[in-house]
Amino acid sequence: MRKNWISYPYIVWMIIFIVVPLLLVVFYSVTVVTDNGLTFTLEFYKRFFQPVYIKVLIRSIVLALISTLICLLIGYPVALILAGKGFSRKNSLILLFVIPMWMNFLLRTYAWLTLLEKNGLINTLLSWFGIKPLSLLYTSEAVVLGMVYNFLPFMVLPIYSVLSKIDRSVIEAAEDLGANSYKVFTKIIFPLSLPGVMSGITMVFMPAVTTFVISRLLGGGQFTLIGNLIDRQFTTVGDWNFGSALSVVMMILILISMAIMSRYDKDREGSALL
């Protein structure tokens, strides 16, 4: 399978539409327009190293990690169950999994507001059972809920697509050799599904770090996340240089996190630059 030319269309595309814009961002992050014209500077990176901004970044990463973990814990069983026997029309079920995401994101998040508010549907339901209204909204739990809601399909689908075609004969052989279901899972099924898991983690963790609309609406703007901060630099503040520097720092940090995570991935197929 030496046919690397097959990926050349993508490589060309990648260079034009990903690498060049990236260089633009890096360019903005290290230059500034002064009276002497364009000069090289690291002031924007230095500005990042203030406690307030570092706190923002750490909080974003922690929140993303928690959401990713929950997506994995909730999503893996779903993928497993759907891929297993006993479910007919699996493909329709998988499609049904994705369809909610085809409804507008803002509308769905507003619907969560209607569900979680003090006078919202969940509290109204609970009040029929005599339970006092709970404060479900404007907490970090609500933000995690929102993130998990939005990213769950991105975790489930890749795992399902790998699990659906696991070689049955390997499992049967293990069972013949006396392994119980627990051992079959931990020693055979899970390791074989790892490529799907890695993809799922990538597709959830990365966007989760830079998302901010969910935390704004469900978290009540109580805390700034890095995505929010970067967005403001480019729009409200108009400081593209600082915004670019923040983006670059964040990119490097995420890539490092991915590299660390992929150490669990024996074949190093994912991303390891280390």
């Binding site: 990903i18 995401m101 619907a111």
Partner: protein, 263 residues
């Protein structure tokens, strides 16, 4: 018992996924524009929806862009994944890390940097630039969906096929592609989903009166999102559901004879 628990768990997850959708659908029948106030059942939003030219145009562009960009991204991405799978470790790492960029970058950075690129290339912002940017952020998701399936492949099948006299193209078509198809379809679905709902990148890379639904909806937010959008979403949801049921009916007729074989 175990079976029941499994089904119940899946049911719970689906309830979680669909709760907001049901709320959204209910409010499409609300006489009041505000979601804080239920003031009676009405179909007026559905009527008004079809007279709203701006929304209809946006729907048109949204669907066309989603379909075309996800198809193109799937083709390019699948080819890319196959190529990347065969690369040496260093090259693979470099390419994968660059591929991650659109996934991890905040939309605003991707959107603005693409906008500047298009301006620099003296391209007029409009449908084409919108399409190009959608393809760009879709491809990484396709690659990420197809790669795991490639890794799952039995490495020797391809060579065995070649040994048995197949041309490389035939081997790809008949051996590799069917095996990675679940990943390809997953990639297509995810790309389509992302494209339908994208706002920021679309906002900055479109022009000439071309807008997608997300832009229209987000622009409405300051004044309150009209339930016309709820009506539209409900109709979209119902159509896809109907489609699903119809296709299922037809394929289950096909499958009735074959069911024993596929357990």
């Amino acid at each position: 018992m175990k079976d029941f628990l499994k089904r119940f768990y899946v049911f719970l997850i689906f309830a979680f996924l669909y709760a907001p959708i049901i709320v959204l659908i209910i409010f499409s029948f609300n006489d009041s524009k505000s979601r804080g106030n239920w003031s009676g059942f009405t179909l007026k939003w559905y009527r008004q929806l079809f007279h709203d030219q701006q929304i209809m145009n946006a729907l048109y562009y949204t669907i066309i862009v989603a379909v075309v960009s996800s198809l193109v991204a799937t083709v390019i991405g699948t080819a890319a994944a196959i190529g990347i799978h065969n690369m040496n470790k260093f090259k693979k790492a470099v390419i994968m890390n660059i591929t991650y960029l659109p996934v991890m970058n905040p939309d605003i950075v991707t959107g603005i940097s693409l906008m500047i690129l298009f301006i620099f290339l003296r391209m007029e912002l409009g449908f084409i630039t919108l399409l190009l940017s959608h393809i760009t952020f879709n491809i990484p998701y396709v690659i990420l969906s197809v790669l795991p399936k490639l890794r799952q492949l039995n490495k020797h099948m391809y060579e065995a096929a070649l040994d048995l006299g197949a041309t490389p193209l035939y081997a790809y078509r008949k051996v590799i592609l069917p095996q990675i198809m679940p990943g390809v379809i997953t990639g297509l679905l995810l790309a389509f989903t992302l494209s339908l709902d994208d706002f920021i990148i679309s906002f900055f890379t479109t022009g000439s009166g071309v807008a997608n639904l997300s832009i229209v909806v987000y622009s409405m937010a300051r004044r309150g999102i009209s339930p016309k959008i709820n009506a539209l979403s409900t109709l979209m949801f119902v159509s896809v559901l109907l489609l699903l049921i119809i296709v299922n009916r037809r394929t289950s007729k096909d499958n009735n004879g074959k069911r024993r074989r596929h357990a």
